[in-house]
């Protein structure tokens, strides 16, 4: 191929790449821009690009009467509790599934995979009825319990793929050293899967932070995650465009930050999940 023929082709490719970039990034950047506009500028036609930026909406969503800070706190508690419990149960389970020989190993692996098939709406009805009966609607307990239904199977399967990659010889050497099962797991295997645990933490955190259906049904005035609080800014009569944009920016700041920082891990996690199976979202 000659250079003259290559140039227009490359230009076309870059133009396409630019288009993709804008299609995926633009709505988010537009929301960011909107969050700094006054309500009057938001509704201007044609849209204004140069305007006096205002922090009023951020002040309002953080300190105003419809502050989302309590909601951020709700989200944080539910998400951190879910992530911690998930890892506590998933790491040992994944190790057993990946490495140990015991009867029913295939069946137990299949069971973990099958629990992911339950549609969320099918889970929420029995949870609602059961939690209502024991008076645990609008509680952290109920929400964390139901969040485990999507995070635990997913985490176990993602971690299994990482445990399988640890060379067997290392573990055998540790066992010969009379380190014992626990010693080998703690001192030899776990440090090898640190990366996998980090990826799993990121995914579980993102999914729990972003969850909406369970939160809207099982939450209430006390436990009201930030995804549900987004509807504070929308009513039948009017939408508070700029305030919604500011609120969404604050609510999504943690996940956007994690997404940008853990970018490589996320792509790896998606690929591992996609090649080996598992994962609902």
């Amino acid at each position: 191929m000659t250079a003259r023929r290559r140039l227009p082709r490359e230009l076309a490719l870059y133009a396409l790449a630019g288009l993709m970039l804008s299609v995926w990034a633009f709505p988010v950047l537009w929301a960011l821009l909107t969050s700094f506009k006054s309500e009057r500028d938001v509704l201007a036609y044609p849209p204004v690009w140069w305007f006096t930026p205002t922090l009023a909406h951020y002040r309002e969503v953080l300190t105003g009467p419809s502050s989302i800070v309590p909601n951020l706190l709700s989200s944080l508690i539910v998400t951190v509790a879910t992530t911690a419990l998930t890892l506590l149960f998933a790491v040992p389970a994944a190790y057993a599934l990946a490495r140990l020989r015991y009867p029913g190993r295939r069946a137990s692996g299949f069971y973990v995979l099958a629990t992911q098939m339950l549609p969320p709406v099918g889970l929420i009805i029995p949870y609602y009825l059961a939690l209502q009966r024991i008076g645990a609607l609008d509680s952290y307990f109920g929400l964390v319990l139901i969040y485990l239904t999507f995070s635990l199977p997913f985490a176990i399967w993602l971690l299994v793929t990482y445990f399988e990659d640890v060379p067997l010889e290392m573990e055998e050497a540790a066992l010969l050293d009379r380190a014992g099962r626990w010693g080998a797991l703690w001192h030899v295997v776990l440090p090898q899967v640190r990366g996998g645990i980090a990826v799993t933490t990121v995914f579980v955190f993102l999914n729990a932070w972003n969850e909406f259906l369970f939160a809207v049904v099982l939450g209430g005035n006390r436990v009201r995650p930030v995804t549900v609080a987004m509807f504070n800014f929308i009513s039948v009569e009017q939408t508070q465009w700029a305030k919604l944009a500011a609120g969404a920016m604050v609510a999504m700041a943690p996940v956007i930050l994690i997404g940008l920082l853990a970018q490589r891990h996320i792509v790896k996690g998606l690929t591992v999940g996609a090649v080996k199976g598992g994962g609902r979202r």
Binding site: R101, Y111, P119, I258
Partner: protein, 295 residues
């Protein structure tokens, strides 16, 4: 005299100790609720008519047969799932193939692709409802008005609303297919292509006979995962249209939700959720069988 446990016995005990708690927790959090769901689907349990409670047998399922709203939601689920999965895979694969040829700037594209994935679907639905698709002020209307195509009620018109929610889902999740397929393509050995190029194989033939067979497992897995997500899609549609106008975007998942928590008919809602579960199992069984055939 008691014999010391063999290595196998000790390994079994260790496995039980590690796996047992997780399995018990899953039993409690997923399988017990499933049994309760099936039990509820056999009840007449309508919070708006509490005096009519009781065992209904298969009554709720029989009711589905002549419930046009159920059949409509089933059709919408098929359209929604089919269109979004097809679009994600086609667009994602096409983009991945093109981006692979760009020498620089792939990193930036990857960052942009991560953005929709990490956002909460409910926020995506709200963004699109207010900033992208709102009549007059939305980004799409700005473009169509500038092009002389006029303003449209993207979420208020029944047909446009269905297209809109499909577009929203496709926008958010195409990056997933794109990123996974880009990573898969990047792992393919380059010498295969070199040989083909020397053989003067055309671009389409190279793709058809070399690339596609190599990435087929990844493509099939993307289809499986994306189908599962589409079948249980909720928050973005809820935020954008709420299932409306009327029931124009009410996929089975939303119908089950609305029946249970807006109309408070939990018995019938449970039956609808059971139908969705059956559909999910049937579809995943078909897909996994295809995957085994392909592998």
């Amino acid at each position: 005299m008691r014999r010391a446990p063999t290595i196998e016995q000790r390994e079994r005990r260790f496995a039980l100790l590690l796996l047992g708690p997780a399995l018990a927790l899953l039993l409690l959090t997923t399988t017990a609720p499933l049994v309760y769901l099936l039990w509820t689907s056999l009840q007449r349990l309508d919070m708006s008519m509490p005096w009519l409670q009781g065992f209904a047998g298969l009554g709720n399922f029989a009711k589905m047969g002549d419930d046009p709203r159920f059949w409509n939601s089933l059709l919408l689920t098929a359209i929604y799932t089919g269109c979004t999965v097809l679009l994600q895979v086609l667009v994602g694969l096409g983009l991945a193939l093109l981006v692979l040829q760009i020498p620089r700037g792939q990193g930036l594209l990857r960052v942009a692709a991560i953005l929709p994935i990490v956002l909460a679907p409910v926020v995506v639905g709200l963004f699109w409802r207010t900033l992208v698709l709102a009549p007059d002020f939305g980004l799409v209307d700005l473009v169509t008005r500038a092009l002389g195509l006029g303003s449209h009620n993207w979420l208020g018109d029944p047909q446009l609303a269905l297209i809109s929610v499909i577009a929203i889902h496709t926008w958010q999740w195409t990056p997933f297919a794109f990123l996974v397929l880009l990573a898969t393509l990047a792992t393919l050995p380059p010498d295969v292509y070199e040989a083909a190029r020397i053989d003067r194989a055309g671009a389409w033939q190279r793709f058809r006979h070399l690339t596609l067979p190599l990435i087929r497992p990844a493509v099939v897995m993307v289809i499986i995962l994306r189908t599962m997500t589409a079948l249980s899609a909720f928050a973005a549609i809820f935020a954008a249209t709420g299932g409306g106008p009327g029931s124009a975007t009410e996929i089975l998942n939303l119908y089950a939700y609305r029946t249970s928590f807006t109309e408070l008919n939990l018995g019938y809602g449970a039956a609808l959720a059971t139908a969705l579960l059956a559909l999910t199992l049937a579809v995943s069984w078909l897909l996994f069988r295809r995957r085994q055939a392909a592998a």
